[in-house]
Amino acid sequence: MILLLFLLTVAVFLLFSILPGDPARLTCGKSCTPDIIEANRHRLGLDKPPLEQYEAFIGGIFFGREFSEDSPQPVICNAPCLGYSYNRHAQVLGLIVNAFPVTFWLATGAFILWITTGISLGILAALTHGRWPDRLVMTLSLIGYSLPAFFIGLVLMFFVIIKWRWLPFPSYVSPFDNLGQFLQTMLLPWIVLAVLYTAFYMRLTRNQVLETFGEDYVRTARAKGLPERTVVVKHALRAGLAPIVTAAGLDLAGLLGGAIISENIFSLPGLGSLSLNAVTDSDLPLLAGITLCTATFIIVANLVVDLLYAVIDPRVRLGS
């Protein structure tokens, strides 16, 4: 895992500092002159050899660093320093920390939404296997799977907010400041983010449950005359849910992609729109910072999921 994180920093450094050829060219916004580019190249230390740059990058994460050391007003970037965005005149970490709560709430809400609807509809489908509720669920799942999320988001936005005016225009506030407005703002973004995953979890749950129904121990339980409810809940579901937990952990980590779309449509100030804006401005230090953070998060999440899996499914032993 440490090795992986190390490789990650190398990869991010290569992708965003070496690959672009001349990152300094991208450091200034609309009206660039060669002078500004040269000045920024020096300030950001991009005129040093790659290895030294990488050292500075890593050093910044652990010990902090200074940009434009020799100018009268150096930019001090305390550890953990992920870099400095010259387009935004701000430290990358600060930008990420500011945006994080929005994405956190977005992801958490969507996660709860898709886990509850996905799993319950999936179980419903499994229990009514072959009959109309099953078919309905499967059809819904297929549609949710096939419609691009941004399409759903825009259509929802148009009807629910603009045309029918059921909800006000989204304007993000912290849930601790104004819970009502928070919920009104987040409802549609949650739905948009959750649709794809809900579709996926409906199928996954249904198939898992149906599969465990065929397993010996469930048949045994049934043969023992245990009530159907006990069979379903205690035996079939418990074993069937283990892979779902795995998938859920990984999906939660990989949510950023969906968040980009959802936040963009509803103008939420989270990591997704931050990264999209960074892309439009070619703000490489910010992009590198976001990539590094989310990738680290995914790696850690992977580890946690492995551990959880062992707890839930006793058949799996760690290290096997």
Binding site: L4, L8, I143, S146, P148, N207, I260, V279, I298, I299
Partner: protein, 309 residues
């Protein structure tokens, strides 16, 4: 014992699946249209790049006729501001979308199968290193990385001599989607190879002194194509959707060329004025993606008759 080959068995099962057959026909139609449509269109005089000033008004470039300017001349209406024919745009856009998604899927499969086999068959250190490498790639948020590298790498491709503009962008999309997409398949393939390696027929071949390469190509690969096919069928529509998302976010293919994504992204702007403009490309896209997904499901079922469905 002379039996039917595995492909024959699967084809037999698939043929009985009415939904799958309908999907197959639809997809064949899509590909035929994508390949030959533009030629025919050029013949009939439909041109997605031709501006038609007479079809739009001077007031904000709004189509003159209602419903987005639907007429005999423009059966699906015209684009706001330019008067370009939407039907023609769909024809050409379909081609670009399919080129991107098909090529990207193909490359993903090539990378995935190659590295999956190498990892699974050689095992040991190579397997460990490849495994770490895959972990690393999988740790990158896919959409973010595709977006983040678009500006930088498109410039690089241009510097390498790829024509500027959409040629570079399309190539970039294909490359980056496959480079960051293959580990998913590689993991599946590796698992399959690991189990195949232990199977009798491979051991038999080994004991008969067959070479490594021979075993790989004649014994293992033929047994892999079923999961690969399923994976590819399900990956392709996700790449189509992906291209659409990227165009929507403004980092995909740019005008004057069109794709599903760019059409959807643009039509969204006019949604409250001409809703039909959004629904036409939307419907065409959804039918395509649904067909692929249904076919993928059917294939999976046909390959694994034990699976519940």
């Amino acid at each position: 014992m002379v039996g039917r080959s595995i492909p024959q068995i699967i084809w037999g099962r698939l043929r009985k699946d009415r939904v799958a057959m309908v999907c197959l026909v639809i997809l064949a139609a899509y590909y035929t249209i994508a390949i030959f449509g533009p030629f025919v269109a050029g013949f009939v005089g439909i041109d997605p790049y031709k501006f038609d000033s007479s079809a739009i008004s001077d007031l904000g470039g709004k189509p003159v006729l209602p419903n987005g300017g639907i007429s005999w001349q423009h059966p699906l209406g015209v684009e706001w501001g330019t008067g370009r024919d939407i039907f023609a745009q769909l024809l050409f856009g379909l081609r670009i979308s399919l080129v991107i998604s098909t090529c990207a899927t193909f490359l993903t499969v090539v990378f995935g199968v190659f590295f999956g086999i190498v990892a699974g068959y050689t095992g040991g250190k190579t397997d460990t290193i490849l495994g770490r490498f895959m972990d690393l790639i999988l740790a990158f948020p896919f959409l973010l990385i595709v977006m983040a590298l678009s500006g930088v790498l498109t410039d690089r491709l241009t510097a390498l001599g790829v024509p500027q503009g959409n040629a570079s962008r399309i190539l970039y999309l294909i490359l980056v989607m496959s480079v960051f997409g293959w580990p998913y398949l590689a993991r599946i393939v590796r698992g399959q190879v690991l189990s195949l390696r232990e199977r009798e027929f491979v051991e038999a071949a080994l004991s008969m002194g067959a070479g490594r390469r021979r075993i790989l190509f004649t014994e293992i690969l033929p047994n892999l194509w079923a999961p690969i096919l399923v994976y590819a069928t399900l990956t392709l529509p996700s790449y189509i959707g992906f291209e659409a998302v990227l165009s929507f976010l403004g980092v995909g293919v740019l005008p004057p060329d069109v794709t599903f994504g760019s059409m959807l992204a643009q039509s969204v702007t006019y949604f409250n004025v001409v809703p039909l403009y959004l629904f036409i490309p939307g419907t065409v896209l959804v039918i395509l993606v649904v067909s692929f997904n249904l076919l993928g499901d059917a294939l999976r079922d046909a390959l694994d008759p034990k699976a519940v469905h």
